[in-house]
Symmetry: D2
Subunit: 354 residues, 4 copies
């Protein structure tokens, strides 16, 4: 209820603050019998971790996952999987610039108003550091989903936008560059652009596209828990996300029904896929694809005006080691949240029929 | 779990098929002591109902709500509010064209695959008729929220798009035209365009913008249940919705952090509002605004190719009385879902502090 | 959250007040494909309904269930089953004796304190009339469970207590007498005793024993949702219930481990069954059996002292047509709640393994 | 859903196996602003821990709680409180006697059937070691509840049963003896009896009585989530519990309504308290009191017959360091679960009224 739980049957409870001793989580409802490759979890954490390239934050945190339960002789037991990622980079640094004043477009102000006070160190609970727990859970979910393939990539940074549809791209190139854009030339442009932005002490937004393939027919629940509605919640719950669209998305608005409708082939597949693999909230077996819009990171390394707790105007200076553009590191987070949604519905679908 | 429940503390359970005896719902968790004006509920139902103008479906259904419980001497008692809306327009008509074949981009195929069979009459549970139950619950939520003002309007139909920001519009004009666009001139264009589309037997998509004002600070829960994430789920759960964005949305992607950040005024308000009234998933007291993208309605009154249950190609003819454009009637549905989200978080926020 | 929902995957939401227009409910999560015999539902309602014999309340209510959704061509569709039972016996009678004063050991006082006011007519939401909705949902659950056999019977009324263990009794005799005790001689004593109590204008408590047979191995979830823990909640949620015990129950306290342990047979069955069919919260395939203790009904047809809203002492006179002993009519309610618990866990168990 | 979560608003998620690296949990929904005394948590853990006296298991585990999140400058922040208790006593001992065969009346058999295999070391997830996590969460809940007083004590061991009603006892004597019975003379008898049982290599059951005082009026939700129903689930979810009764309990069955009804005093208190502080599922401000029946521990240090995985009869020898009687160590667990229930309802009650 307090917002730290995601999923109904395959469920993650997340905990931890940016500068506490550790962050962590509990994956509950993971079926028994999965041979869990812990290295794969660690691999996804590496894709998310700070310091991995020059275009991301230069903080150094190893982000090593420790699993405390739910595994026996290499297999999931059906009992909850508790895990920790220790925070190793908690400098006893000077937080005075954020302790008593509110950084614009951060959660500082609203946390203070909501809870009466806040753990201001590095953003506390509102820090995107929390998403490491999601990556762990998502990596477990991926191993449960097995045959389902989830690939996310950066399709836009600022005004630099891929024209290619996902089907024209080679997903094996995603990890070939620090931007995680499967179009090497565009990736190069994006990388340079992010470096320029970084030099300015500024930040820029971006879009991640995610494609889910080999999806069984029938996942998703009618009415409020339509598959794409839960995917939407999942993506919008990631820090800095401002928008979500699937299939034809916002562009579908300008289409006519006669154009937009996806005609069936005899095998139940469709000739076009404006539906984005989901009809009436339920998967039809076609690829699911969706876009997630990220705003520019709020921390800019510039001077800014704001207010303090007393409501007085103050001037502050942005500092720290932050991402000039969040999307390269957010790729595994988008994948993780997609995996969590699909894992949950993969269990729910088992209960639909006599 | 089966997708028919929305909300945690202020909760709607919805039931009913398009051509069953009735649809209905239960609102559970509505606080005691609200003087409930049932006419206001009926008024919102009128805004959603078929046959209200020439640009919507010409079906005639009175859509009268009957409340069975939870009210005593005009006030809510804190116990669940059960209600029905009888289906009065269930013609014993010929469904043979949809009984054995699958309408493209409808839920026919996936329901059959998921459940083994389906109530094919008028789309059954997947029909947008279900949203009438949401309008009832939302109208109750609005009366609980009282001081919070929720206004939705049509901001785009096909390529016809309002340039004006919501602050330049007069919400009192929304109901002055059948399109529900508060810009009379544009409304006129949209209306004519929809009529043209209708004559073609075709359909067209659109966008609804929703603005929530007078929102208290502190609504929304961290991490997975961020206010905008639940709003996103709520909107994406409405039939035909393909996308959701709030605040700067997809446009925010191209902005720099230094531009995008909303500078605080001494009273905690912000000079700009790219955040869309939500920071870190929690309301900051500024207006919440968001866009909801609707695809064109799948039912076109044209001949189309599809497959039947046996996987054989068949040709069918779209018929019935359907909406050429769904957005005019979807305005109260968007408001209802927004109200449900806000009501839920208005209760949750009471539990945050000692 | 507000207490009107039971079950996670197979779920009942109940609504309605004793003297409103109707009570009802929604069964959500019932799997598709069950050929539902509505007469069987009605049959269980008859077993619960007032006026069925001389030892129960003489109110006359037909208690006819009307189903509004979730059924198509005689089968469940996997969508929510909404139903109503109209209240036909709502006399516009004089409630002045309970409107402003609090009946001892009823919920009048606490409802007023909790909600600020209450629907005082016939107890409103706190009336046991609500259990009719449970009987409907339970009768649906029974048809899902099919091979599982649930039999409840009256094993004690006041001091009159059956010595026989359930295995010495013939369940086919349960419905042969108005007490619903499968021991005809004891049933006779109980019936006479209840008549005596009734003449005194008094009431008496009793115990219902319930036996569940043909249960698959593996139902129940570890830790907090142990099968017997949810059965306990289910039973204790029935009006007037004061205690629950399963297997060896309170008597098991005096046994030694060496006596109490159930030795396995080669087929996994056990030689004794002190475990009551549940070990570690999970069914082992043996019979589940448990006892439910009911206090005497609070409404006595005698004069009594109490207080009014102003906290002043008043004298009142019990009146109305109430049950001298609630257990005969509670038998189908106990069965219904057991069926709901088992149906829920029968779905959950499908999600345990890869 | 998988049974490891308890509570709706004040919620514990528990994880960990008896012989894994650690057990732990997450308390989510704890309100912000509580000055949390971690030593008090540790104190309750000491009351539960093995090796504390000669009548409990002689295992040695320090059971030290480590808190990882949700606390800042000594106060709860409103964010989830993640904690671990490391398992320090995991001997690499010989489990061959339980690896391939099933201990009678343990969860070995049902876990294997349910999940396909099990972590057999020390009972794995089904071990009562898990209850240490509950004690931590309960100790946090107690500090939230503050003015509410929860006292549990041993009222019966085998046939040795306290005749005194809780009001005749001095709760300050509970911790004065290893049995945790506030009647020193009876405590002495019980202690000797347990020692005798221990010498026999056998075990014996017992009853814990729990009393909750200074409870506000209005806690508890109608219908399915009645306060006593959730208390019942909470208690029955504790390992080895076979029965629960509150107020008059099973004895109330033999009373007449005219005797059982609790007459109101002008201040809303009642002259008697057969209701056990709960009417219609909602607290009336009187003391809540209830009994919890524990069966004898299944592990006896004797030879026993059982079956192995292949269904073959085998003979085994009970060994290890187990409790001859579980109730002395279960006292803080009962209190913890009561605290969790009350904390949850203390938050829910805030949402009842406009």
């Amino acid at each position: 209820m307090a917002g730290n739980t995601f999923g109904q049957l395959f469920r993650l409870v997340s905990f931890g603050e940016s500068h506490g001793k550790a962050i962590g989580g509990v994956v509950d409802g993971c079926p028994a019998g999965i041979e869990l490759d812990v290295e794969k979890i660690q691999l996804d954490l590496e894709r998310r971790k700070p310091g991995q390239s020059k275009i991301v934050t230069q903080r150094k945190e190893p982000d090593t996952v420790e699993i405390y339960s739910g595994l026996f002789e290499g297999k999931t037991t059906g009992t909850p999987i508790g895990f920790l990622i220790h925070n190793t980079n908690q400098k006893s640094k000077d937080y005075s610039h954020i302790k008593d004043s509110y950084r614009p477009s951060h959660a500082d102000y609203v946390y203070d108003k909501k809870y009466g006070f806040r753990d201001y160190r590095g953003g506390g609970r509102s820090s995107a550091r929390e998403t490491a727990s999601r990556v762990v859970a998502g990596a477990i979910a991926k191993q449960f989903l097995k045959e389902v393939k989830i690939n996310a990539y950066v399709s836009q940074v600022g005004e630099l936008k891929l024209d290619e549809h996902y089907q024209e791209l080679d997903f094996s190139l995603i990890e070939s560059n620090p931007v995680r854009c499967p179009h090497p030339e565009m990736a190069q442009h994006m990388e340079e652009y992010i470096k320029t932005i970084k030099k300015e002490g500024d930040t820029i937004g971006g879009v991640i596209t995610c494609v889910v393939q080999n999806v069984p027919v029938g996942l998703g629940e009618p009415v409020f828990d339509k598959l794409h509605a839960k995917l939407g919640q999942a993506m919008l719950s990631i820090n800095a996300v401002k928008g979500f669209e699937y299939g034809s998305g916002f562009n579908g608005v300008t289409m006519k029904g006669s154009q937009h409708n996806d005609t069936y082939n005899p095998d139940g597949s469709t000739q076009t896929n404006h539906s984005g693999g989901v009809q009436g909230g339920i998967t039809n077996g076609m690829d699911i694809y969706f876009n997630v819009a990220f705003k520019p990171v709020a921390t800019v390394l510039q001077a800014y005006d704001t207010i303090n707790k007393a409501g007085e105007k103050v001037t502050a200076q942005g500092k720290g080691r932050h991402d000039p553009c969040v999307v390269p590191r957010a790729v595994p987070i988008v994948e993780a949240m997609a995996a969590l949604v699909l894992a949950d519905y993969s269990l729910l679908v088992r209960t639909n029929r006599l």
